[in-house]
């Protein structure tokens, strides 16, 4: 169908995008890899010696690296569990007959559109604050001691905030998937004598599997790089209690000006993200065939 002429025109039209993305990703990435082998600190101008894998050695053996990895994983897994379970439950609920479904949908979606710095600060001050926060007030109402969420369980608090941001996303996608479920299939199952619970287990959940996978993979990509929420609430603290990998890299490079060490950390983050990305790309790639 396509002639030679239209092919060369097409190549011409794609090239700006390809070249830009190439420059955007590959060139800086190559530079990061290069820096990661140098002894390069912005505070110590002069020669940048080649130090081999020493930056990686320091970064990987730094106790805060292991903590950051652990925190990153807890953060990602915690938010995933909350948003996927909550998202499925909410999607099932919102798919039921009700009055004002459109409005409820809008209410549920809203947090996704709130910028991370706003949601983190609102939660930090107006809800989690041990003196003036609403949660402290409710605790007192019930005769409990107010709890200082952000200093006593900083990571949990951040998981809560991030889950609030991402629950709408999971709900929206799962609800969309739910509404594409053929109602005749449900009716057939009903005719076959399946109870509401069996229908959920045997029809709804299998139908949602693909979307749940997509939700998990996409959220993982974003959750691996949670940053702003930590920056404006705990600054990674107390100590390193809520430091994740991106925050550690940020601290190393822009607070301690250790370009070499920060670069090594960045590459470690890239490798971790790629492991997830490979799975995600396979899924989307399969979808492309269909």
């Amino acid at each position: 169908m396509a002639t030679q002429h239209s092919r060369s025109a097409a190549r011409l039209m794609i090239s700006p995008a390809v070249i830009l993305l190439f420059l955007w990703m590959i060139v800086p990435l190559a530079m990061t890899i290069y820096f990661s082998f140098l002894n390069y600190n912005l505070l110590r101008p002069g020669a940048h010696d080649f130090v081999g894998f020493r930056n990686y050695y320091y970064f990987l053996t730094d106790p805060s690296f292991l903590i950051a990895i652990k925190n990153t994983l807890i953060l990602v897994l915690g938010v995933l569990v909350i948003t996927v379970v909550g998202g499925v439950a909410l999607a099932v609920l919102l798919d039921q007959p009700m009055w004002g479904q459109g409005i409820v949908r809008i209410l549920v979606i809203a947090p996704f559109f709130v910028m991370p710095t706003v949601s983190a600060l609102v939660w930090k001050n107006m809800f989690l604050n041990p003196v003036n926060g609403l949660f402290a007030y409710f605790a007192q109402l019930m005769g409990l001691q107010p709890y200082d969420f952000l200093s006593q369980s900083p990571l949990m608090s951040i998981i809560m905030i991030v889950s609030w941001e991402w629950l709408p996303f999971a709900t929206l996608i799962l609800l969309t998937a739910m509404q594409s479920l053929d109602s005749e299939q449900m009716e057939a199952a009903e005719m076959d004598g399946a109870s509401a619970i069996s229908r959920f287990i045997y029809i709804t959940l299998p139908h949602l599997t693909r979307s749940i996978t997509v939700v998990i993979l996409i959220q993982t990509i974003f959750l691996l790089s949670v940053f702003a929420e930590i920056l404006v609430t705990t600054n990674g603290g107390p100590g390193t209690a809520s430091t994740n990998l991106p925050y550690l890299v940020y601290g190393q490079s822009l607070l301690q000006f250790d370009v070499g060490g920060g670069s090594a950390g960045g590459i470690v983050a890239v490798i971790l993200a790629n492991i997830v990305a490979i799975f995600l790309m396979r899924m989307i790639g399969k979808n492309l065939e269909a």
Binding site: A10, L20, L21, V108, F113, V114, T117, V118
Partner: protein
């Protein structure tokens, strides 16, 4: 579903859903209400919901503290500017891949997607140093460039899936009718793709508006968008809840409204067409 649902059941679901919906929405609602309180009322115990003295003073104070309009304008320039720039690059690319697919089209698409998966910290240092050396730090130009590049893959993907839905027979019909490439693009493709392009644009503006890694890293004051403007409230300074609320309300209101219009496209855009 033609079947009758008993009103009692429907009522039950309605109450349950509205309750959950309101709980999830509450932080936003509470922020909105608090923005009209005096600082004293904002921390009153028990909390005040409606029976307080409503005031607009926080909005005035926030504007005096830092120039809201400047940051708002920066956000608009960055999100809208980067979206338009990215569209100019993405439309031809998506068009070519959708209508003149080659052997490697799929690989190119996947590669573009893979750039989106790369964590920003992996390239933070070179970008930061480049910006520092070229004087692009804390400039709108710099941020527009970064946002364009960040969202380019999503844009190309969304447009690609929209273009793919235009049936090939229509293009063949146009060719039979004597349309050359230019008229085909001008009279057939573009008008048919406009709904898709519009919703892609909307989503992209939202994503760029809320982006909070590069905006925080690469700006400090002059080019700071609203994400950075709000971040400046991260260290407490006496009683500031009402002011924080006012600032937050102003930062999220425009995009919240846009976002509600783009729910459907959101799903598609954020899943790269995997869920429609």
């Amino acid at each position: 579903m033609a079947r009758a649902v008993t009103p009692a059941r429907k009522l039950g679901f309605t109450i349950a859903s509205w309750t959950v919906g309101l709980v999830i929405f509450f932080p936003i609602l509470w922020t909105f209400i608090t923005s009209f309180k005096s600082e004293g009322d904002a921390v009153a115990i028990p909390p005040l919901f409606v029976n307080f003295h409503w005031t607009l003073e926080n909005y005035v104070l926030v504007n005096q503290r830092s120039d809201y309009l400047l940051h708002f304008w920066n956000s608009v320039v960055i999100s809208v500017g980067s979206t338009f720039l990215a569209l100019v690059i993405a439309i031809p690319a998506a068009w070519a891949m959708a209508f003149v697919p080659g052997k490697r089209t799929k690989d190119v698409l996947m590669w573009m997607l893979s750039t989106k998966m790369m964590p920003a910290v992996g390239v933070l240092i070179p970008i930061y140093l480049m910006f520092k050396n070229t004087g692009l730090l804390d400039t709108l130009t710099g941020l527009v460039i970064i946002m364009t590049l960040i969202n380019l893959p999503i844009l190309i993907w969304m447009l690609y899936t929209y273009f793919k839905e235009i049936p090939g027979e229509i293009l063949e019909a146009a060719r039979m009718d004597g349309a050359d490439l230019k008229s085909e693009v001008l009279y057939i493709l573009t008008p048919m793709a406009i709904p898709g392009i519009a919703s892609t644009m909307l989503l992209n503006i939202i994503l760029a508006w809320n982006e909070a890694f590069w905006t925080l890293m690469l700006t400090s004051s002059q080019a700071a968008p609203l994400t950075q403007f709000i971040a400046s409230y991260s260290s407490p300074e006496g009683l500031f809840y009402a002011k924080l609320s006012a600032a937050s309300t102003m930062a999220i209101a425009p995009i919240l409204i846009l976002g509600w219009f783009s729910q459907k496209q959101l799903v598609r855009g954020l899943t790269f067409g995997a869920v429609k």
